[in-house]
Chain length 307, copies 2
Amino acid sequence: MIEVIFLGTSASIPTRERGLPCIVLRRKGELLMFDCGEGAQRNFLQAKLGVNRPMRIFISHLHGDHVLGLPGLLSSMSLLGRRRAVFIYGPKGLRSLLNTTLSLIRSNINYEIHVMEVTSGIVCETEEYVVKAEWGVHSVPNLMYRIEERERPGKFHPERALELGVPRGPLWGQLQRGKEVTLEDGRIIRPEDVMDAPRPGLKVVYTGDTGPCEEIASLSEGADLLIHEATYSDNMRERALVEGHSTAKLAAVTAHEAHVRRLVLTHISARYSQNDWILEKEAREVFPATIMARDFLKLRIEYPAKL
Amino acid sequence: MIEVIFLGTSASIPTRERGLPCIVLRRKGELLMFDCGEGAQRNFLQAKLGVNRPMRIFISHLHGDHVLGLPGLLSSMSLLGRRRAVFIYGPKGLRSLLNTTLSLIRSNINYEIHVMEVTSGIVCETEEYVVKAEWGVHSVPNLMYRIEERERPGKFHPERALELGVPRGPLWGQLQRGKEVTLEDGRIIRPEDVMDAPRPGLKVVYTGDTGPCEEIASLSEGADLLIHEATYSDNMRERALVEGHSTAKLAAVTAHEAHVRRLVLTHISARYSQNDWILEKEAREVFPATIMARDFLKLRIEYPAKL
């Protein structure tokens, strides 16, 4: 299960209702943050996500509304007792921005900060998941990110193993780790004889700021959740495309083409602060499983029910 | 009349109730902002103070909680149509911080920004007021600021002028501008013959972050409003002094010694988010005219009633 917590869902300028972009994925106690706009620390603390969790931060691009919350968040976590390292990924320029700011404000940060300036491709791999980045289409270089959990082994059936004469013990472990075993009588038992097929992991995509492009659809193919920017309504499509932004409808078209399970619209222009339902409506006409993000919205992404 | 609007009243870390330091004085349509912590733009916009007003910003020191809101505020005002120049004053390092940040986030600011790195002394003079800075006592160089309106001429009494035989006309103007005039019969009429004594202007002091010191008292002597940091309650006095901070009680002692009209406590540690009345109470025991600042609190500072 992955939980998604929206801490900021506005575009460019914060409104009364929406803070600047910041989204956190919580997964087995680890926090994966996507973008960190000004004010993120305030909502982060209010959401009580924990200041000393294992944490990675992925920055889509260096526009102020997506990155100016970083120095404050990093400083405050230190003041509040963080001692674990933080890993930060983003486009070139991020290290210089962070180093200059943190040194000029004489921030004393009591934990390690590892900044990785990355480009498209795999940017982070752990035993449990892989994060891949792909360039979007924006006025400055913008990375879209996909976190994909590794395949999990299928369910192990002890009764089948016993039936086949595999004795309880180390051989069971080998089968569960995906290895064939040879019994004393020479028979070979394969993992699939005693286990269900591997279960795919969850897949979540975050676009940052981008106009529509091939790369989103391929990055998002079959995703459990696509978190897509929807700065404007489709009647402002021309302006959106010029600026390297999407409309709610275009986001929905991509979600449809990429066969995702759910679409969340975020990065909503302040002009819709009184009527953001317009965006939700136009997207749902194309892709019904659309949700409008709001600050502090929490979504649970579960594994799909088995067929 | 000067109006004071508190946009952020927390210390170090924002809480649910309090944003990071930012205070605005509104005077005849001009905005004078003191400090600009992260998140200031959100409260600034919400308070509807206007993005295109004449504006000066005074930064007390370069700790993140007092300055990290500047790039975002400056960028958003530009996006929202500001075209008037902004004048920014603060300690050495401010220009580099702003330049680096604004260039790395590729901010396109459509108005002039004049950054003045200043030290103690007069930092800004207009026809209407003078702003003086003085160093406080903090872990990094911290400027305390006083805005003092220029003396306004006393009330002119036309009936007295006529009685003394000063004909209506240019001579009246000379007297009102403080000059003696000589009548045709040789008599000399002085301004004080036809006008009340000059009326002093209003005086407001903002301390930024500082421990108690002589300089506050002298800067604040007779001030109409002293906006003083009160990070801690007096039972944490030792820690406050080590860190270069004040307690509510120490702020009140200074207010008393400096004969100010009113004291406002701000820069309140997050530890008092449930019981900041403690600070107000301990200050009022020493200096009854004490007010606890809160986000969006507005105060009007009027000219004192004439005796």
